[in-house]
């Protein structure tokens, strides 16, 4: 049976709080944790050891920015040890699919659009042999000179990506304003840099493809693969039971999966393709660099009367994605005079796509740094300035906000951190060589939902199984879905098996946009509702009178073990959740506030984060432990975005200069202090039937702004250019 739940209006029932088991929200360990830490969870590339006859492919990538491949000289590698084949096939893809595309990305591998584009696959008996042959394959090009690789190039032309929001008279409000800020901030490109590189093993059985791969959204990925290969989606069986981080880079299929599938059918053997770390950087996707102009006009009390946020970003020709920098600016702050304008330039750099918290990750850090400048200009405490700018109504659309605990986050975060409301001036506190300062920022991220199916089986023995092609990309999906089913069915979570990452199961929402737990969780919830009704029927009571707890069904004075009630027969339901009209009916978002204390070395400009507090409201928290971990992970990303992460492109040919983990600087343990996460209690009936919202991305959104503001407070320098590396601080630091 399939039960559908379409969310057209707020779900005020708050069913989960009415349940008796008491496990929802508890900080339970992830059930798959021991497998992961002991190395026995099988990731995509590791299936090779279970697949006899599997051979290895390594992608060959372009060494020009733009042109055409005129020769792939197989004779140059034919005699190398272990060599099997060079494959360059019209089905192969030259780019990753964008998240949710559901169709093949650009193919045309011989038409080079960016440096690092896959142009062929070399297959050999072993990985080392394939890598060697891939390096030595002789390739000839017809190169198009002077490819535009840099959005800063004067030849770059920017065009509106979508209709801008223009309301009232921003310029006029800037002139009238008691306090105004007009500043330009820049951010550099980022790479997701998931620990597990993109990897696939393709195995054909007749016309059916089995692909072990590292992917986030299988129901879309299946269609993308089928479209690229020219087969029906039903002929594609995808397996991604464990994913070693995705952060957006595995939302869509990437070139190695199709290449493996094509090679496997051509050779009649299973083929594995693992991307080299440099390829993960050079031929998957980047977060676009951004240039952002912020105009903030405030009255004498600091209330915004004008709000302008314009952003310039880049992507490859033909891509339908532009970093949605202004996403939070649409709803976070008031100001009846508004300009929001996103402009896109086409450049020949690796595909720009979704990297954790697309939009807010970089938009919020610039906005919140500009808000700090407004706080300074107006002499209003930064927390107070934000409290004065919580709009009653959506500033552009005639829709209400759903539950919004921004004020609670600002106040509770400030209290927890010990925020000093006194007058703020830079360079006031020195400890030895270090300038010490504090800063804060607001966090927000739009709430998303996605369609999802999940199957729940209450087995005859009183245990349960949850199954969906939903993925767990390290976020805690296994734990959270099991907890929802356990709560709804009155079971110990240990009695619930969760099976994920297999297209043989009903299609889940996939992991992306922070929607996974709320969307697939709602499908699990709905399936459990069906099972509850069936149990009530068996018990001979109304569902409203049914209590399920500790493996027993209770109604009135009757208490029956589930196994007895089921008489050995399974009860199975498929839950189908659809977001419905709710998505348009409310401005639904997660909120939070960051507070940080940093130290800036007076001599060198090195920055150390000393304390970092985040207070977040995320709707109902489904698992306190995994939610806290997600927030921490986001804050670590914020540190990277603030201080170290910088994807550098060579100005001549657009190749990535630092395509490895030694030179693309993610924060390391020593860069990250104790992270203090405070989860503010909330239920959002418009968030989902669970009254939950998204968790996975909020922790980044604005975090780097808080750090930048603290740096300014410490040493008096605002570089307005992220990441804030020591060289950018040096020119403004006081003489030593």
């Amino acid at each position: 049976m399939t039960r559908s739940l379409t969310m057209d209006e707020p779900d005020e029932r708050n069913r989960l709080d009415a349940m008796a088991q008491g496990v929802i929200g508890k900080p339970l360990d992830r059930p798959e944790g021991p497998l992961k830490v002991s190395g026995s969870a099988t990731y995509a590339a590791e299936y090779r050891y279970k697949i006899p006859g599997c051979v290895e492919g390594v992608l060959v990538t372009a060494t020009i920015a733009r042109g055409e491949v005129t020769l792939l000289d197989e004779s140059s590698v034919r005699d190398l040890p272990g060599f099997i084949a060079v494959i360059s096939d019209e089905r192969m893809i030259a780019r990753p699919a964008q998240g949710g595309a559901g169709e093949s990305p650009v193919r045309k591998v011989r038409e080079v659009q960016y440096y690092g584009q896959p142009i062929a696959l070399v297959v050999a008996e072993t990985f080392e042999q394939a890598r060697h042959a891939a390096k030595h394959l002789k390739v000839e090009y017809r190169e198009e000179p002077d490819a535009l690789v840099d959005p800063a190039d004067e030849r770059a032309t920017f065009e509106p990506f979508e209709d801008p929001t223009i309301q009232g008279d921003l310029e006029g409000s800037m002139r009238q304003a008691a306090h105004a800020v007009d500043v330009i901030y820049t951010t550099e490109g980022h790479n997701s840099a998931a620990m597990e590189p993109h990897a696939s093993i393709a195995q054909w059985d007749g016309e059916t493809l089995t692909l072990y791969s590292s992917l986030q959204m299988l129901r879309f990925n299946r269609k993308e693969l089928a479209d690229a290969l020219g087969i029906e989606p039903e002929k594609v069986h995808l397996l991604s039971p464990y994913v070693g981080g995705g952060f957006g880079s595995k939302l869509g299929i990437s070139p190695e999966g199709v290449a493996a599938a094509v090679a496997a059918i051509r050779l009649g053997r299973p083929v594995r393709v693992v991307m080299l770390r440099q390829q993960v950087f050079q031929c998957v996707m980047r977060r676009s660099e951004t240039r952002q102009r912020l105009r903030l006009a405030a009255d004498a009390e600091g209330r915004l009367i004008g709000f302008g946020h314009e952003a310039w970003v880049s992507n490859l020709p033909e891509e339908e994605f532009a970093e949605p920098v202004l996403q939070a600016s649409e709803f976070l702050y008031p100001g009846e005079n508004r300009v929001l304008d996103l402009q896109l330039a086409r450049v020949h750099r690796v595909t720009a796509g979704s990297v954790r918290a697309p939009g807010e990750a970089v938009g919020m850090q610039a906005l919140e740094a500009a808000m700090d400048e407004l706080a300074e200009a107006s002499g209003i405490d930064p927390v107070e300035l934000r409290l004065r700018n919580i709009p009653e109504r959506h500033p552009s659309e005639d829709i209400p906000y759903s539950s919004r605990k921004l004020e609670e986050c600002l106040r509770s975060g400030a209290e927890r951190f010990g925020w000093d409301k006194g007058p703020r001036r830079p360079c006031q506190r020195r400890e030895g060589e270090w300038w010490i300062g504090s800063g804060m920022a607001t966090a927000t991220r739009v709430h998303n939902l996605n369609e999802a199916h999940a199957r729940v089986t209450l087995r005859g023995d009183g245990t349960a199984e949850v199954a969906s092609d939903m993925t767990d990309i390290g976020t805690g999906t296994y734990a959270v879905l099991g907890q929802i089913a356990a709560e709804m069915l009155g079971l110990d979570p240990a009695a619930v098996d969760v099976k994920l990452g297999d297209t043989a199961f009903p299609p889940g929402s996939g992991s992306g946009g922070s929607w996974g737990a709320s969307s697939t969780g709602s499908a699990v919830f709905e399936a459990c509702e069906g099972i509850r009704e069936e149990l009530a029927r068996k018990l001979g009571c109304a569902e409203a009178g049914l209590t399920l707890k500790d493996g027993h069904a209770v109604s009135g004075n009757r208490k029956v073990p589930l196994a007895d009630l089921l008489e050995g027969r399974d009860v199975e339901e498929i839950g189908h959740f659809k977001p419905g009209k709710i998505a348009e009916a409310f401005a639904a978002a997660m909120y939070g506030a960051f507070f940080t204390e940093v130290a800036v070395n007076a001599y060198s400009g090195e920055v150390r984060i000393r304390r970092f507090t985040g207070a977040f409201s995320l709707g109902r928290v489904l698992n306190e432990k995994t939610a806290t971990s997600q927030c921490m992970g986001g804050m670590v990303w914020g540190i990277g975005s603030a201080l170290t992460e910088d994807l550098v492109f060579d100005p001549r040919d657009g190749h990535i200069v630092n395509p490895d983990l030694a030179e693309y600087h993610l924060p390391v343990n020593l860069d990250v202090p104790h992270l203090d996460v405070l989860l503010v209690e909330e239920r959002d009936p418009a968030g989902s039937p669970l009254q939950s919202k998204g968790v996975g991305e909020l922790g980044i959104c604005g975090a780097a702004g808080a750090i930048a503001n603290a740096i300014y407070n410490a040493c008096g320098v605002r570089p307005r250019s992220f990441p804030i590396t020591p060289d950018k601080l040096l020119p403004g630091l006081p003489e030593v």
């Binding site: 060494t63 040890p81 080392e128 890598r131 060697h132 390096k135 030895g432 060589e433 007076a602 001599y603 060198s604 400009g605 090195e606 150390r608 201080l643 170290t644 550098v648 060579d650 100005p651 001549r652 190749h655 200069v657 630092n658 490895d660 030694a662 030179e663 600087h665 924060p667 390391v668 343990n669 020593l670 860069d671 590396t725 020591p726 060289d727 040096l730 020119p731 030593v736």
Partner: protein, 326 residues
């Protein structure tokens, strides 16, 4: 990765013979294996020297003889090193990660190759990797590159930390030849400037094997290692300074400074040491020292900041070493 033969050396002279015939030696392999995977290093033969008896730290002529196979971790943890040569322990601990330091060896670390982005990218011209092909860093992104002693052929830096401290300590590299003879090369002269042969990082010849690093008797005084980098750990130096400095009667009685991240070798400038000697510490003196050090410094765009950064950090180091307040 290309196929290669692997064997174990049973004696130093045996290892030396193998290098004469083109083999590469492997100890910790922390740099060599990465380079082999990228096919920047392409040896046909790899000779494992881990079984040679070069893994001890012994007292010698009032100083210490550190065997070439002593790991970075062991060296930094050695009580005598920590007590008498703290600048060396500090420099080692400022480099890499626990895991790498557990494998990296004293001899191998001296031979660490540059981290120039273009050296690491086989698809870009690089005179160090492929003599005569050109230097991509000159017109490219050169934030981590040299400001001293570079040439039109190469602006790469030597990336290590340990050797910077060894240069400040005026240690010597003990090198054995095929016939068993030993030569001793000051660390300060071990690495080369690029000139028009940047493919040669140091003066080690085919047929030679580093057997030890020899520290002179302890210099005492303040010993500091200051490393400025883009993150708190696991990043190469933008600028680093090793400082060994003694004071007597309010004057600098001994000064030996070496710099990392600035040149194709750990940079040591006699003039800086000489300038400081016998003088009373003052900010004016420290500025003068920086001016002498950086008189011929040249930036290439993205690394211009290293000049003011070096000046500021040198002042921090000298203030700390001489007890002047920050």
């Amino acid at each position: 990765m290309r196929a290669f033969t692997y064997s174990r050396a049973e004696a130093v002279t045996h290892a030396a013979e193998q290098t004469r015939d083109g083999a590469r030696l492997i100890a910790g392999g922390t740099n060599l294996l990465d380079l082999m995977k990228l096919e920047i290093e392409r040896p046909d033969e790899l000779v494992d020297i881990n079984r040679l008896e070069l893994g001890t730290i012994d007292e010698q002529d009032g100083g210490l003889r550190i065997g070439a196979l002593v790991t970075n971790s062991a060296c930094a943890a050695d009580e005598r090193i920590r007590r008498d040569y703290p600048v060396l322990a500090r420099a080692i601990l400022a480099g890499a990660t626990f895991q790498l330091r557990n494998k990296a060896t004293t001899g191998g670390n001296l031979c660490q190759r540059t981290r120039c982005y273009y050296f690491y990218n086989r698809d870009q011209p690089c005179n160090k990797r492929e003599p005569g092909s050109g230097c991509s860093a000159l017109g490219g992104f050169n934030r981590i590159h040299a400001i001293l002693g570079a040439s039109e052929s190469c602006i790469a830096t030597y990336p290590g930390d340990m050797a910077v401290a060894l240069a400040a300590l005026d240690a010597k590299v003990e090198i054995a030849a095929v016939d068993g003879s030993i030569r001793s090369v000051p660390v300060r002269a071990f690495h080369r400037l690029p000139g028009d042969t940047p493919e040669r990082d140091n003066v080690l010849e085919p047929g030679e094997v580093i057997t030890a690093v020899v520290l002179p008797s302890p210099a005492g005084g303040a010993q500091l290692y200051r490393k400025v980098r883009d993150r708190a750990s696991y990043a190469f130096a933008l600028v680093s300074i090793a400082c060994v400095l003694g004071m007597e009667d309010g004057r600098i009685s001994h000064a030996s400074l070496a710099f990392g991240g600035l040149a194709h070798k750990p940079w040591h400038d006699e003039r800086v040491d000489a300038l400081l000697l016998g003088r009373e510490p003052s900010d004016a003196l420290f500025d003068e020292a920086a001016d002498v050090l950086l008189a011929d410094a040249r930036g290439y765009g993205a690394n211009d900041f290293k000049i003011p950064m070096t000046k500021r950090v040198l002042k921090a180091v000298l203030r700390e070493a001489t007890g002047e307040n920050a």
